[in-house]
C-alpha cells in the first residue's frame, strides 16, 4: 500500500528522533534480487509505484541485482533534505559495499512514485479542509461546534492511520523478489483510484461551485479518512491474514544430501511461498556440508571406472548392422546391438557385487572411529573444565591473585582439549565449519554462563542449522527460483518448483490439505447402561 510511503517523510523525522534507521518503506519491487544478504536487518523496503502494472509485465527474471543498503542512501536522497547521513550509515554502507552491486534507478523510480502517492494520500484530507479557507474565505460559513468536533476526529483518525501504516508497512525489508507483489500493486492502484475520484468530486462539486457549507466539506474529508482506514484494513487482510490459515503442506528436499522438511503454508503466490521456505531453511536445515558427500561420489566414480563404455555412434552402428545383416536374420542385428549394451551393464553389475560389502565395512569402521574420538573428546573436555572454578563475590575482593576474565580462562584451558576436538572435527568432516577463534569464543561464552562440558560440546557433536554458523560457511547466499508456473500465480496442489543456489538446490513439492467433512452424533449421557453377562439364553 502506498499511503505509508507518504509517511516516509515523517518516518525520516521519527527516524532521526529515534536515531534508528530501521524505518524504510516496504518494497514491492520487481527486482530479481534473490540475495539472502538483503535479509539483514539493514535492508529497507520500497513500494512499487502503482503505475508499474499499467506499464506492462516487463519483469525480467534471473538478474542478480542486489542492493542491500540503497535504502539508507535513498533516504538521504529522497527524504526531506534536512537529514544527512549519520556516521553509522556511512560505515554500514561501506561495510556492505562488497555485497551491493549498485544502486538501481528503477528502485529510485518506484520509491519516488510511492512517496508521491503517499504524500498525495496523506495531504488530501488536509487540502480538502484548508482550500475553502484559502479560496473563498468570506463566503464560508463559520465552523460550529459539531464541525470543530469533526476536526478532532480527522486529526485522530489520521494519527491512527499513520500508526497503522507504520506498523504494517514500515518493517525491515525481508527480501528482494523477482516479480511485483501483486496484492500490493492492486492495493496501490485502488488507493490511487480512490483518491483521484475523491478529488474529482471535490473539484467539480465544491471548488467550482464554491460551496459555503463548511461542515459538509469537513464531513467529506472525514469520510475520506474513514475510507482510507478501511483500505488499510483491506491491506491487512490481503497481505497478512489471508495466508495464515494453512492450506498446503510443502515438502522441501535438499538435492545433495536428501534432508527433508515439511512445512504448512497458506494461500501464497509461488514467490512468497519460496521466500517463506527459505526463511525456514535457514532455521531448520542443518548446514550443508559438501565434505560428507565425497564418499558417495568416490563410489560413483568407481562404478564408472568399472564400465567400459563403447562409443556407439551412428557410423559404428551402421557398420555393425551392415555386417550382421549379411548373416541370416535381420532382427538379429538390432537385437545384437541391444544385447551388447546389456552385456556391458551385466558385466559391470557383477563387479558391483563386492562394493556393497566395502560400504558396509567402511561405514562400520567409520562409526567405530567416530565413537572412539568422541569418547576421548568428552573426557578431555570434562577434564579441562575441572581446571577452572568460578570465583565467588567475597573471594574476588580477598584474593586478587591469578584472576582471569572469561576470555583468558578459555584461552587457558583450550590447549588441553584442542587436539581431541580437532581430531574429532576432522573425523566428522566438520573442521571447516569451526575456526579456532570461534571455538574459543564459544568456550568463553559457556564458561561465563556456567555451562557444563556437555553443553559446550553439543554444538560440535551435531551440525546445527545454517544460521548458527558464520556467513562464510553458509554456502547458500543467492537463490534462483525456477518454476514452470508463473511465480506470481498461487500455490496449487502438485506444484513443483526449485530453489537453486550455487552448490545445491531445494526441491519443493506441494500437497493440498484435504477438505474435511465432519458429521456429528449425539450421545445422551443417560444412555450408557450396562448389564452383567449372566447366562445368555437362546431360544431354538
Amino acid at each position: 500500500m502506498d499511503t505509508e510511503s507518504t509517511y516516509s517523510g515523517y518516518s525520516y523525522y521519527s527516524g532521526r528522533s529515534r536515531g534508528s534507521h530501521r524505518h524504510g518503506e516496504r518494497s514491492r519491487d520487481r527486482h530479481k534480487t534473490r540475495s539472502k544478504d538483503s535479509r539483514s536487518e539493514k535492508s529497507v523496503t520500497i513500494n512499487t509505484p502503482p503505475a508499474e502494472p499499467l506499464l506492462g509485465d516487463s519483469a525480467v527474471r534471473g538478474e542478480q541485482v542486489q542492493d542491500d543498503n540503497w535504502g539508507e542512501t535513498t533516504t538521504a536522497v529522497t527524504g526531506t533534505s534536512e537529514h544527512s547521513l549519520s556516521q553509522e550509515d556511512i560505515v554500514r554502507i561501506t561495510k556492505d559495499l562488497e555485497d551491493s552491486v549498485g544502486l538501481d534507478c528503477r528502485r529510485y523510480f518506484t520509491l519516488a512514485l510511492a512517496v508521491i502517492l503517499g504524500l498525495l494520500v496523506f495531504l488530501t484530507p488536509l487540502a480538502f479542509l484548508v482550500l475553502p479557507h484559502l479560496l473563498w474565505p468570506e463566503k464560508l460559513q463559520s465552523c460550529g461546534t459539531a464541525c470543530e468536533g469533526l476536526f478532532i476526529s480527522v486529526a485522530f483518525k489520521l494519527l491512527i492511520l499513520l500508526l497503522a501504516v507504520w506498523a504494517l508497512f514500515f518493517r525491515p525489508r525481508r527480501a528482494g523478489l523477482p516479480r511485483v507483489f501483486v496484492f500490493r500493486a492492486l492495493l496501490a492502484v485502488l488507493v490511487l483510484l480512490f483518491v483521484v475520484s475523491y478529488w474529482l468530486f471535490y473539484g467539480v462539486r465544491i471548488l467550482d461551485s464554491q460551496d459555503e457549507n463548511y461542515q459538509g466539506i469537513v464531513q467529506y474529508a472525514v469520510s475520506l479518512v474513514d475510507a482510507l482506514l478501511f483500505i488499510h484494513y483491506l491491506a491487512i487482510v490481503l497481505l497478512e491474514l489471508r495466508q495464515l490459515q494453512p492450506c498446503f503442506s510443502v515438502c522441501v528436499t535438499r538435492s545433495t544430501d536428501g534432508e527433508i522438511r515439511h512445512y504448512n503454508l497458506g494461500q501464497l503466490s509461488i514467490q512468497r511461498a519460496a521466500l517463506a521456505i527459505l526463511e525456514h531453511y535457514y532455521c531448520d536445515f542443518p548446514v550443508s556440508n559438501p565434505a560428507l558427500l565425497s564418499a558417495s561420489k568416490s563410489r560413483a566414480a568407481k562404478h564408472l571406472a568399472g564400465l567400459k563404455v563403447y562409443n556407439v555412434d551412428d557410423a559404428f552402428r551402421a557398420k555393425l548392422k551392415a555386417y550382421l545383416l549379411d548373416s541370416p536374420g535381420n532382427n538379429a542385428a538390432a537385437g545384437l546391438v541391444h544385447s551388447q549394451s546389456r552385456a556391458m551393464i551385466a558385466a559391470a553389475a557383477r563387479r558391483r557385487d563386492t562394493s556393497h560389502n566395502e560400504l558396509y565395512y567402511e561405514e562400520a569402521e567409520h562409526e567405530r572411529r567416530v565413537r572412539k574420538r568422541k569418547a576421548r573428546l568428552v573426557v578431555a573436555v570434562e577434564e579441562a573444565f575441572t581446571h577452572i572454578k568460578r570465583m565467588q563475590e567475597e573471594e574476588q575482593k580477598k584474593a586478587p591473585g591469578d584472576v582471569m576474565d572469561p576470555r583468558e580462562a578459555a584461552q587457558a584451558i583450550f590447549p588441553s582439549m584442542a587436539r581431541a576436538l580437532q581430531k574429532y572435527l576432522r573425523t566428522t568432516k566438520q573442521q571447516h565449519c569451526h575456526s579456532m577463534e570461534s571455538i574459543q569464543q564459544h568456550l568463553a561464552f559457556c564458561i561465563t554462563n556456567n555451562m557444563t562440558p556437555k553443553a559446550f560440546l553439543e554444538s560440535y557433536l551435531t551440525p546445527g542449522p545454517t544460521l548458527q554458523y558464520s556467513r562464510d560457511h553458509w554456502r547458500a547466499r543467492q537463490w534462483t527460483l525456477i518454476s514452470e508456473a508463473s511465480v506470481t500465480s498461487g500455490l496449487k496442489d502438485g506444484s513443483v518448483f526449485l530453489l537453486r543456489c550455487v552448490d545445491f538446490s531445494l526441491v519443493v513439492t506441494t500437497k493440498k490439505i484435504p477438505y474435511i467433512q465432519m458429521s456429528e452424533e449425539y450421545i445422551d449421557p443417560k444412555s450408557h447402561k450396562f448389564v452383567l453377562r449372566l447366562q445368555s439364553e437362546t431360544s431354538v
Binding site: 453377562r533 449372566l534 447366562q535 445368555s536 439364553e537 437362546t538 431360544s539 431354538v540
Partner: protein, 128 residues
C-alpha cells in the same frame, strides 16, 4: 451329574425326539437353552454342580414340539443328533440345534429325577 475332569462321564439319559415345527420361514423347537463353556456356570439355576458348563433347558414354550416330546425345564442336553453337548460353547449348541436342513432332532437329555427313578427301581428289586 457331577463330573470329574478327565474322567469319563456316566449319566442316565432319556432319548427324546422332537419334530421341528415350521413357523414362517423358521424351524422352531419350542425351548430355550442356556449355558456353555463360554458362559458363567455359577448363574445356572438348574445345575447341582455350579461348575457344570453344560447346556441346560431353561424354558419350554407350552404347547410347542419340545413340550409335546417330553422335554422338561432343567434338563441337561448330553447329545444332539449324535453331537456332544457337554463341552460346547453356547453358540455352537445353538447351531447344532438349529440346522436348517434337519427336520428332526434326537436329543439325549438327563435330569436328576431319572437318576432317582433308576435308583428306586434298582432298590425295589435288589437281587435282579
Amino acid at each position: 451329574m457331577s463330573f470329574v475332569p478327565g474322567q469319563p462321564l456316566t449319566a442316565v439319559v432319556q432319548r427324546i425326539q422332537i419334530q421341528k415345527l415350521r413357523q414362517g420361514e423358521n424351524l422352531i423347537l419350542g425351548f430355550s437353552i442356556g449355558g456353555g463353556i463360554d458362559q458363567d456356570p455359577g448363574q445356572n439355576p438348574f445345575s447341582d454342580d455350579k461348575t457344570d458348563k453344560g447346556i441346560y433347558v431353561t424354558r419350554i414354550t407350552p404347547g410347542g414340539p419340545a413340550n409335546a416330546a417330553g422335554l422338561r425345564m432343567g434338563d441337561k442336553l448330553m447329545q444332539v443328533n449324535g453331537w456332544d453337548m457337554t463341552m460346547v460353547t453356547h453358540d455352537q449348541a445353538r447351531k447344532r440345534l438349529t440346522k436348517k436342513n434337519e427336520d428332526v432332532v434326537r436329543l439325549l437329555v438327563t435330569r436328576k429325577s431319572l437318576e432317582e427313578a433308576v435308583k428306586q427301581s434298582m432298590g425295589c428289586f435288589p437281587r435282579q
